[in-house]
Symmetry: C2
Subunit: 93 residues, 2 copies
């Protein structure tokens, strides 16, 4: 089954599925600022666009463009700004 999810008043939408290695979602964010909590380890890969992220324990925002990625530990949270509409792949483990 492909699950359909919406967050932040539908400004973030995602589709959940199972990959060969675990659970994943692909999604799209509208331009804006978001804070996400993690219940498991997440690898976020920018599919198309740009995310500027403030990762746990860091004080500096970093830009992640198409094809680049960042990781966030479980039971943590991170902030992202989406520059334009941005699509992403999130892998959970």
């Amino acid at each position: 089954m492909i699950s359909s999810n919406e967050y932040f008043d539908s400004k973030v939408k995602s589709l959940g599925y199972k990959s060969a290695t675990g659970n994943s979602t692909v999604g799209v964010m509208e331009p804006g600022d978001y804070e996400f909590g993690t219940s498991s380890h997440e690898t976020m890969i920018v599919v198309e666009g740009e995310l500027v992220a403030l990762l746990p324990g860091e004080t500096e925002w970093k830009s992640f463009k198409t094809g680049t990625s960042f990781e966030v530990e479980a039971n943590s949270s991170f902030k992202v700004k989406s520059v334009g509409q941005t699509s992403y792949l999130c892998q959970y483990k």
Copy 2:
């Protein structure tokens, strides 16, 4: 706005948005066989998983795995088999 689309009895779901260069969708396909028509040129990029495609004018099915892509001209059609659940990025131009 992020558009939500479903095809083939919800076996294919996609999210539509605008990238810096044009219209795109990210989506997920359930395992199965599909035939898609194109109204514009499409670049299909496998985000995670595997698509086996029969492209217009070809007689041999070809496998496209994570990170690989194929292109289809406008006003054409192509067949794909999704091996497991597969996520993809489709860029229109």
